[in-house]
């Protein structure tokens, strides 16, 4: 789960990581009110769950009260990479001496918690990695050991921070970010830029926080933070119904049991010249309700011209899936052709149910996929 900048900063404040003074506005009236008493210059920052808002004009400096109204109206409602802006953060302006990149990451390759820092703050770390890799310091921290003084020392040497007061501020930030990562089940906490102001204060100017989906439920802090704003309505419905769903641009709707098989199904559609409309994993359960919900979600997509079921029964029982299809046909108005591949546990019973409805089935994945593709071709 991605958090908004303002949510990340609320967590920072809780973990004693300094952030600029700021307020959230959830509509333009609120924003204008906050602007009316905020000391200029201040900064207006669109709150969207994607990067690149700066380039898109979603971050603006307001130099005088007079400018505020125009700037705020330009930002509210703006579309940034498909995300509509309906929240802004209004923050004090800071006099910046230096910008630093700092993050902690659950690193699946090294299997450690990786601290990443660079003197080139404000730039995307991937860009720095390409253009100036030696500007980046990566330190793998073993979660059994934790963050230690020599890690700090390496960071300070890399960033050439020698001032004692700055070191102490920085140590506290490193330590608190590390605590955040481990206590809040974060996959990533990134501050870019972390700024040193002209008055020698270190402040987190931005926040990017990604919470481990497996950890979200364990942490009270996130109860008020849960949002699906980075998901499409279909993805939200799917999630709520225990389905994994990702929308694609094609026209063959897929309902598959198992994520690997679902990907392989999409790939095979493409291989035979077709275009998958989605990734959808109904999971290992045999609840017919899941099939109905899966069909519902796929039907919403007007591009879809055919629905392909690819079921390899293991834990999932073929007869349960067949019953689900039967129910769906009853409850929903399905005009699309259904191509059904059924094999594995209780295959015979499942096939019988479908044949009784006049539906054909196959045991071959390849046959089913080819047939779906050929139907589109017609």
């Amino acid at each position: 789960m991605k958090l908004y900048e303002f949510q990340g900063k609320r967590l920072f404040a809780k973990y004693q990581i300094p952030v600029p003074k700021g307020e959230l506005a959830e509509n333009i009236e609120q924003a204008l009110h906050i602007a009316s008493y905020s000391k200029t210059p201040f900064v207006v920052k669109a709150q969207v769950l994607t990067g690149g808002r700066g380039k898109a004009g979603g971050v603006k400096l307001v130099r005088s009260r007079e400018e505020a109204s125009n700037i705020l109206s330009s930002i509210f409602g703006m579309d940034i990479k498909g995300y509509k802006v309906n929240k802004v953060l209004i923050e004090e302006g800071l006099e910046i001496e230096r910008e630093i990149y700092l993050s902690f990451l659950m690193n699946r390759n090294s299997e450690k918690i990786t601290l990443i820092t660079s003197g080139e703050g404000g730039m995307e770390i991937e860009t720095v990695a390409k253009e100036n890799p030696e500007a980046i310091l990566k330190i793998d921290i073993d979660p059994l050991v934790g963050i230690k003084s020599y890690h700090y020392t390496n960071v300070f040497e890399h960033l050439k921070i020698y001032d004692k007061d700055l070191k102490n501020q920085f140590k506290a930030i490193l330590n608190n970010m590390y605590r955040m990562v481990t206590e809040l089940y974060l996959n990533l906490v990134e501050i870019n830029p972390l700024v040193i102001t002209k008055s020698n204060k270190i402040i987190a100017l931005d926040s990017k926080v990604i919470v481990d989906d497996n950890g979200v439920g364990f942490i009270k802090d996130f109860d008020s933070f849960k949002n699906y704003d980075d998901l499409t309505p279909e993805e939200i419905t799917a999630k709520a119904n225990g389905l994994s769903f990702v929308k694609l641009d094609g026209n063959i709707g897929c309902i598959v049991n198992g994520a690997g098989l679902a990907m392989a199904t999409m790939d095979m559609i493409k291989y035979f010249g077709g275009d998958p409309a989605n990734f959808l994993d109904v999971g290992g359960s045999s609840n017919p309700e899941k099939v109905i919900n899966a069909v519902k979600i796929i039907k919403r997509d007007e591009n879809v011209k055919v629905i392909l079921f690819n079921i390899f029964g293991g834990i999932t029982r073929c007869d349960d899936i067949a019953s689900g299809i039967k129910e769906a046909l009853k409850v929903l108005d399905i005009k699309l052709p259904l191509i059904i591949r059924l094999t594995g546990t209780n295959e015979k019973e499942g096939v019988q149910i479908l044949n009784d409805l006049g539906l054909e089935t196959t045991t071959s994945m390849q046959d089913a996929v080819k047939k779906a593709v050929s139907l589109i071709g017609e």
Binding site: P143, L144, N214, V246, M266, G284
Partner: protein, 288 residues
């Protein structure tokens, strides 16, 4: 031979009294797996499918020797269940549970490094040595004893591949589902090392997918040290970047994590990659 598991392996089930735990205990037992006991705190003295239940592994070990544990405990309690198995020094631990926090897995993974413990999963279907024993949730009937080892990051896709193998006459030595999470107990390379020394295994099938670098690490290892024929399949060529495809670990975070990049790296190192899962037996026939 085979790796890790055979009909003499003494297996316990953590979370045996739960819905999934009890169902699969029945299935494993009927497949021939030697299940010696189960663990559910507070349910000691009960039985499931005739198998005695204990409150802790420590209690269980007073009555039974244990070689492996399979964990069906729900996410909230799964972390302690894994730690319990680790601290009780069980040599083979298979975690079926989906939803174990990455954070905790990271600690556990670092803890068992250098210890004589093999952890499989979490979020995996388990492993099976056909016609001997299975530990997990795989449908036993599609497997057949033979000489092909299989390692897979997926569940049903594994069944699809194994089904093709069996139909084409290729039995399996051991099939391991390593799980779809970003941090898993055993990666391709860890198990390849075991298959390398297994006399019964004559060829390998690896089923990979988008996300992470495990396939690349395995490629390097195969090139340098693995001396048996290998066929691979990589799922997710049509997966969009940045989207999680069901498995927590199936997400493309960088160019080298795409299916295309992995396939290219494999081919560049002369490891055959099947275009379709069903092609795997054909390729095997050619290279064995």
């Amino acid at each position: 031979m085979s790796i890790l598991l055979n009909k003499n392996t003494r297996v316990i089930v953590q979370g045996i009294t739960g819905r999934d735990g009890s169902f699969h205990t029945k299935m494993m037992k009927s497949y021939g797996t030697k299940i010696v006991g189960g663990v559910t705190p507070g349910k000691g003295n009960e039985t499931v499918e005739g198998i005695p239940v204990y409150n802790t592994i420590s209690e269980l070990k007073k009555d039974h020797g244990v070689d492996a544990s399979v964990i069906f405990v729900p996410p909230k309690f799964s972390v302690d269940a894994i730690w319990e198995a680790v601290e009780e020094n069980i040599k083979l631990i298979i975690v079926i549970t989906e939803g174990v926090p990455v954070n905790d897995m990271l600690k556990i993974k670092n803890y068992i490094k250098g210890k004589d413990i093999t952890l499989i999963g979490p979020n995996c279907p388990g492993l099976i040595t056909p016609e001997e024993a299975k530990v997990g949730i795989m449908p036993g009937n599609i497997f057949k004893k033979g000489n092909v080892g299989v390692i897979s990051r997926s569940g049903t896709l594994t069944y699809e591949v194994v089904y093709s193998l069996t139909n084409a006459g290729f039995g399996q030595s051991t099939v391991v589902g390593i799980g779809g999470d970003p941090i898993i107990g055993s990666r391709f390379i860890d198990l390849l090392k075991l298959f390398k020394d297994d006399d019964e295994t004559e060829a390998m099938v690896l089923i990979g997918e988008i996300g992470g670098s495990d396939e690349a690490i395995a490629t390097e290892y195969i090139k340098k040290e693995f001396n048996k024929p290998v066929v691979t399949f990589i799922a997710g060529k049509t997966a969009p970047k940045g989207k999680r495809m069901g498995h927590a670990g199936a997400i493309v975070s960088g160019q080298e994590e795409t299916a295309q990049a992995k396939i290219k790296f494999l081919k560049d190192n002369n490891i055959p990659v099947a275009e379709l899962p069903q092609e795997i037996p054909d390729i095997l026939k050619k290279i064995i």
